[in-house]
Structures are given as structure tokens and as C-alpha cells.
Amino acid sequence: MNIEEFQEALFAKGRKAGFTEMEIYYANSRSISVSVLKGEIDAYKIVESGGLSFRGLIGGKMGYSSTERLDDESIDYLLDEAGSNAEVLENEEPEELFAGSERYHSVNTYSASLIKTSPDRLIEAALAMERIALEADHRIDMVRRSAASVSESEVLIVNTKGLNCHRKHSSASASIYVLAKESKDAKETVTGGWFDFSLRSFDDIDLEAVALTGVREAVSKLGANTVQSDNYPVIFRNDAATSLLSSFTSVFSAESVDKGFSRLKGKLGERVAGSNVSIIDDPLMDNVPSSKSFDAEGSATARHELIKDGRLLTFLHNRKTARKTGAANTANAAKGGYKGMVEVSHHNLYIAPGTAALAEIIRGTERGILIVELQGLHAGTNATSGSFSLAAIGYLIEHGEIVRPVNQITVSGNFFELLNGIETIGNDPRFVGSCTSPTLKIGSLSVSGA
């Protein structure tokens, strides 16, 4: 069955089973990815898959179920499971389906030709990056992974209230991950990597820059040592700052706030960050991978300022949280994959950039640590309390200059305190995911080493 036939058969049978409103959320993707190792193709992956989530109103409650198989048997499965899932729900606020927004902004993240990139082109690119990296520096011990891929995906939401939203997205990417050693027999190994992407064409990616940046990321860590445990001014480079921010984005979700998992609860209108901090969610930005014109409920998305000059202006909402708290819906309904419940999440959240270049920030630091990599984010951060304690890799700065690489340290602090202690914000956000930060310099953080 194709998706249209499946949807029609599902809704018809669902009506007979007593569902008064029904919706499908269908997602599928296609991709080709190649990685090479030591001059040979190491892995080649071809993907074509999709999944469908159903939700329906029965007995005044919304039941959910999902399947990856579009056949008659699955129609019964979806309806039975959604029915018994609805029956056991105890939450008081009923969900309802949405007929659609009056108008949607146009967001173009699709290029039909991208998926047609020839696999040979991807193989050639991965081999070229490996070669460039090995030739760039004799200290490159191995290119552990040199990879290229193209993908496209599509989302379709259709419901019995008339909603019919569809979007397509395509992306190409190239990445490298290298191991470096001072000499063949050296005990110390360091790693580094880089990647880039394009939403338009694989040829837009500067492969040489990816390879050479990956090399530089690795070799510049050679000879790293720990530092004395102390409080230091800490500069999180844009990528490290981004990974830190991404661990705490749930604090802006009205759902987390409502359930008591965010310390921002009750702080709307108050100052929660330094006056130099603004945080924005903008799903309509050009050439950003997570841009989209509608959210997981089919509401038209828009740009929202969450924090403006340090003041908390709004949380992120979907239809349910907006109704419950009497706030405006920010169209931030989201699903963790096609299977999940409709929850709340950011689309393209970022800290507004400042004016300083990274080099200037380093020059303005008498003594401090520049962090370029944070590890163990899934375990070493606590979004509820805001605390973090993370293994880090970076460089020691003295008298405005990088003097040596640093490893075997942890950096600890609290996200909510950090928002109030940002001394300088860089001009360098790199929009590669759904959450972005420019370089951030923090006045003082606890660093544990020797």
C-alpha cells in the first residue's frame, strides 16, 4: 500500500472503531553514505525507510501508536493499540487536533538533485579527504574515518480536520576523524575531526578545508597535559559552547517548566541572564539544517525571542502547553522521531552573536583556558539543577596567547549561573544543527586537573 491508500483505509476503519478525530504523521528518508579507511571503501550504506505514527481521539482521550509496515495487519494494530493507550491515560487536559494555520512561511531546505549525487562522487570525495589529511602532516597516524553522504527526508501530517502539511529536506555532508602521534612509536595519541554540510549540493562542500581543519584539530592537541586545579577564566569555543547549550535547551520548554524540571519556572519577565545575553529560536532562517515551516502539530512556525537582553520573555510552547498556561503558542510542537508523543522542543535555537572574534577574545585573556571539546555530556550535565562537570580538552592561555594544549581536566559549573557570568560573546556562531552558540568567555569556572 502507498501512504495515501494506507491513510484512507486507516481513517475509514478508525471511524468505525469509534475514533472521532484522527491524524497521521509520516516520515521517510533516503540516504547514501560512504566511508573509507586506508585507501579502501570501509562501509557503504544505502537507506530507504519510513515510519508512520497515528493518533486519534476516542472517549475524549488521544491515543497514540506507530508502525513501519504499511499493511492491513498494521491498520488493526494501530487502532487497537491507540485505543488501549487512550484508555489508560490520566492527564486532564484533552488534546485536540489542529485544522492548520492560515498561512505558512516558505522555507526551502530541499534540492531534488542532491540525492542523485553519484555514489562514485562520494567515494572519490572520501578518498580525497583521506589523502589530503595524510599528506598535510606527517604526524597523522591514521585517518580513522573519512566519510561523505547525501540524504533526503520528508514529513507529512494529515488529519481529519483538514490539515495537510508536507515538507522535504535534503542535505549533503563530509566529515573526517583523524588520529595523530608525534612519531610512530610515541605513546600519546590525540584525535580530531571536522565536518561540513550543504543543503543544496555536495559540490558546495570544501573538502580540502574539512580535511585540513580535521588535521589541525588533532595535531594541535599533541603534547597536552593537565593543569593545576583552580578557578580559571574559561573560553568555550563556538562548538564546545554549542554542545554545552544543547544539554540545557529543555529548560526553555513549557512542558519541562510545568512538570517542575526547569529552574526557570516562575521567572517570566525576570532577569535570568546577563544583559548581554539574548536567546532566539528561529525556524525560518535561511540555509540552516533545522529550519521548517510547520511544527509537529502542523502550526506555522515563527521566530521567537526567549531571552532578550537577559530577560526571560517566553517559554517554548505547543498547543497543549499554550492552552494550559494561557500563553501564546510558539509552534514548538516536536516529536522525538516519528514515533513519539507530541512534546515541546526548539527548532533552531541560538545565543545571539556578539562582535568579538575568537582571536581577539584569546588576546584579551591574561590567563585562562580555551575549551574546544567537551565529553560525556549525556551523563555530566543535569538540566534540572543546571549543574555540569565535564571532561574537557583545550589550550592554556597566558598573556593573551595559546601556550600549550590541555587534557585530563574537568570543567564544572552551573548553566544558570553561567548565563549571568558571560564576559564576552563571540561573533562566530556556526549553524550546523538545531542549537547554536557563538564562542563564550566565562569570568571564572572551576577546573579540576592535577
Binding site: V47, R69, T191, G260, A379, Q408, G449
Partner: protein, 463 residues
């Protein structure tokens, strides 16, 4: 799930361009997840995952393709598009004689999960909520989830293997959040097993709920952990995540075969203190990380990794076996048909030593007692690992003193394993999800109480 004739046709198509091995992994999985927040059942999800993965090998080159459409027409088309990547000379005519392989099922499942158990599960979840919420006035929120999964797999390959298995998983997760003024801390306990609904019925739910709340309440009132190099005692059970990160990932053939692990080329060499013997065992009855057969159809084994400090073995899948010239250890695993298999851990643990927990604590003048561990990660090339301590205390003069929060432990694999200077006699296992190249998988991490003479502890004290 798939007819034998169809399997043979697909495998034959897969070898058309000169591949030397092809494999089909078909999966039909149903799963359920209930979530209760603050005593209210807020979400109930059911899903069916279905798809087929086709892998073709030629020497060290591997192609992987997957699809949801298991019609013969589509599977052959998928096999052919994968085979096109091989670009070798025309096929050796593969004559396949599929032999259905049987094995002894080591894991008894008494009550298969199905949707009729939802209401009973909710009763059990409510008990967890009541105990956790009533533990202390500081407990401000609870989140309980119950998950179950029934995974049917069929694996067939051009060596004639044809095998099917049904894997059943059940888990309860209890999170408690404690509040004290502006402070918030959470605690977690998440028991799980390769078992059916009977696992929940037999579980001491109240004990796990109290554990989650105890951690949250203790930590919300705790000061910050100190920073610096200190002796660290890691308690038994999920504390084994230390070995999992510090060593286990570095023994996987994915890292060893290309020579990108610090453990590569070190078989027979000393990589840990003589007190350390460590094992990865995929055969333990009903254990969370166990399997009858791995996701390449090989029987799981008990693999000795380190014996008295000497490196004895690696964790090897089919591709690792080719690259390293060593047999598979039954360690090829994948989250689903969407992943090519890779060498992964099952139930990994440090074996019992001779000390008691009390002796280890009494012998420590000053240090950190990590009673309950969070998760961690490792870079297998550098062996830099890190993990978070969920519940920690200071040890002073051989006694457990005040609790401390926010401790992270970091180190390097062999260096850390060499500094294990006391090993307890109280081996236990804890359950976790391990994320790596072939997806997120259930694993046990286990150990007795151990002491590491010196580790870098990252805390915030002195700020």
C-alpha cells in the same frame, strides 16, 4: 518472517557482483512505553518496527542497505543496489543450502508482554510513585516509566545459516527530583531484564523507588565535590560502567582491528592491576545484556577479557574476525535492522576479589566513595574516559562522611586499571543502555566494590 525461497533469491542477488558473503537480518519488533509523571499516567505509546537489512562483504569492504518493504521484488532490488557498490567481476554462482539452526534457549520468559498488561503495569508504577514521593518532603517530582519490547529476528547468510530468535525485554525506570530552596537534584534507579512481565511482578519496586529518592534527597543537601587527584572507591553494581568505558569499548574489534585502540597488539600483556579479572558474558540467564545468538547469528559466549591483569581477549564480530584473523566471540550486535552489526559488549563485569566493602572503606584515609554511578563515555583512540557520579560521599579516616554532588571522574584506560588496588567480594550487575556505532543496546555493567588509588575528580569546591 521470510520464506526460505525468498531468502535464497535475495542472497543470490546480493552476490551477483562478486561479493564473498551476504546476510539478511529481518526484524519485527513491537514495543510499549508507559510514562507516569507525578503519579499521573501521561503517556502510553505502542509501536511496531519492521524492516530488513542486507549486508554484503567482499574482503574488508562492507555494504549495508535496509528497507521497510519486504516484498520479494523490493528486497531483490535493494540487494542489487547494494551489490552495485561492490563493482567486482560477475558472480560465483552461489549454491545455498540453508540449514535451519537451533539452539537451546537459555532465557525463560513466563509472561510474554502484550497490551493487556497496561493496567497492571500502571498499578505497579503507581506504587513506585507513592514510595518515591513519600520518601521525604523534599521530593518535588517523580517520573516513572515502564518499557517492554518483543523483538523477533531472522538471520540468514550465504554460509547456509538460517536462525530465528525472539528477545523479550522489560524495564522499569524511576526518577525522583528533590528540591531544597533553589536547589534541584535528581536520582534514578532503572532495573531491567531479558524477561517478560514476570520481571516487574517479582521486582522489589519500593526498594528501587527509595533508592531513586534517597539519591535525590542526599544530593540536594550535599555540598560540591572537591577537585583534584584522590583515591576513589566505586561501589558494586552499575559502578562497572568504569570498566565498560575505561576498557570495554577499547577491546571491541571495531577499534582494535584498524589499530586505533590503545589495547591493539597487547594480547598477553599487562593492562591492569593483577587484582583485575574481567569478563564479558552474553550467556547469563535473563540478564539485560544477554542474547542466545548475536545479531549475526553466532552463539553468545562467556569471553574472558582480562585475567589477573593480563589482556586475554577482544570482543570480535564477523568483520573484526576477517580483519584480525581471529574467531568471532559472538559479539556482533545492532540496535535494529537500521544498523550494520558491530562488535559490542553484552554483560561486562570485573570478577570478585577478596576484600569486603567495609575493609576497603576502613583502609582509605581520605577519598571519594562513589556509591551510585551515572553514565560516561570514552575516546577509544586516546583511552580518555569520563563518567558522572550520581551519588558520592567523602571518606575521611576510614569512614563514610558527608555527601558531595557534581563529581565527574576522568582518566585514561590502562593507567586507571593499573591503579585498582582493592577489589571487593560483592559482585553485582546494573542495567544501562550503551550507545555506539551500531546503535543503542541493553548492556549490564557489573563489578564488586573496587578502589582506585588515584583518579582525577572534577568537582566545584573552592569556587
Amino acid at each position: 518472517m521470510l520464506q526460505e525461497r525468498l531468502i535464497v533469491n535475495v542472497l543470490t542477488a546480493a552476490l551477483e557482483t562478486g561479493g564473498d558473503f551476504a546476510e539478511i537480518f529481518a526484524e519485527d519488533k513491537t514495543s510499549g512505553r508507559l510514562e507516569m509523571v507525578g503519579g499521573v499516567l501521561e503517556s502510553s505509546l505502542s509501536g511496531r518496527d519492521y524492516g530488513v537489512g542486507i549486508r554484503i562483504l567482499k574482503g574488508n569492504f562492507s555494504v549495508y542497505a535496509y528497507t521497510n518493504d519486504s516484498s520479494e521484488h523490493n528486497l531483490i532490488a535493494t540487494a542489487r543496489s547494494a551489490a552495485a557498490a561492490i563493482r567486482g567481476s560477475a558472480a560465483g554462482s552461489a549454491v545455498m543450502d540453508l540449514r535451519r539452526t537451533d539452539f537451546d534457549n537459555r532465557h525463560s520468559v513466563e509472561i510474554m508482554p502484550d497490551s493487556s498488561q497496561k493496567k497492571r503495569k500502571i498499578e505497579l508504577m503507581r506504587r513506585a510513585h507513592s514510595t518515591a514521593a513519600g520518601f521525604d518532603p523534599c521530593i518535588a517530582q517523580t517520573k516513572i516509566h515502564a518499557t517492554n519490547q518483543l523483538q523477533n529476528v531472522l538471520i540468514a547468510n550465504t554460509e547456509g545459516l538460517l536462525v530465528q530468535d525472539t528477545r523479550v525485554y522489560t524495564r522499569l525506570g524511576i526518577s525522583a527530583v528533590a528540591e531544597d530552596g533553589d536547589q534541584k537534584q535528581s536520582g534514578f534507579s532503572g532495573p531491567g531484564a531479558y524477561a517478560g512481565h514476570e520481571f516487574l511482578e517479582g521486582l522489589d519496586i519500593e526498594e528501587h523507588a527509595r533508592t531513586a529518592s534517597r539519591i535525590a534527597v542526599t544530593m540536594v543537601k550535599a555540598g560540591f565535590a572537591p577537585s583534584g587527584r584522590l583515591p576513589v572507591i566505586i561501589d558494586n553494581g552499575f559502578g562497572g560502567v568504569l570498566f565498560h568505558e575505561a576498557c570495554g569499548h577499547g577491546l571491541e574489534s571495531t577499534a582494535v582491528a584498524p589499530g586505533s585502540s590503545v589495547f591493539a597488539g597487547k594480547l598477553g600483556e599487562r593492562v591492569a592491576s593483577p587484582l583485575v579479572t574481567a569478563v564479558d558474558d552474553g550467556t547469563i540467564a535473563n540478564a539485560w545484556g544477554s542474547l542466545n545468538i548475536d545479531d549475526e547469528g553466532a552463539r553468545t559466549q562467556r569471553n574472558v577479557l582480562i585475567e589477573n591483569g593480563l589482556l586475554k581477549g577482544y570482543l570480535i564480530d564477523r568483520m573484526g574476525s576477517r580483519r584480525m584473523g581471529m574467531p568471532s566471540t559472538g559479539s556482533g550486535r545492532r540496535q535494529s535492522y537500521k544498523f550494520a552489526p558491530a562488535s559490542r559488549m553484552n554483560n561486562t563485569f570485573i570478577c570478585n576479589g577478596t576484600s569486603t566493602r567495609e575493609e576497603i572503606i576502613a583502609n582509605t584515609e581520605y577519598g571519594i566513595y562513589a556509591k551510585s554511578m551515572g553514565g560516561g563515555s570514552v575516546n577509544t583512540a586516546t583511552s580518555d574516559f569520563n563518567f558522572a557520579v550520581q551519588e558520592a560521599y567523602i571518606i575521611r579516616n576510614g569512614k563514610i562522611a558527608e555527601p558531595v554532588k557534581g563529581a565527574t571522574l576522568i582518566g585514561k584506560g590502562i593507567d586507571c586499571l593499573s591503579k585498582i588496588d582493592m577489589v571487593g567480594n560483592n559482585l553485582e550487575h546494573g542495567q544501562g543502555m550503551c550507545g555506539s556505532v551500531s546503535g543503542s543496546l541493553p548492556v549490564n555493567c557489573g563489578q564488586p566494590t573496587i578502589r582506585i588509588s588515584e583518579m582525577t575528580v572534577g568537582g566545584r569546591k573552592g569556587e
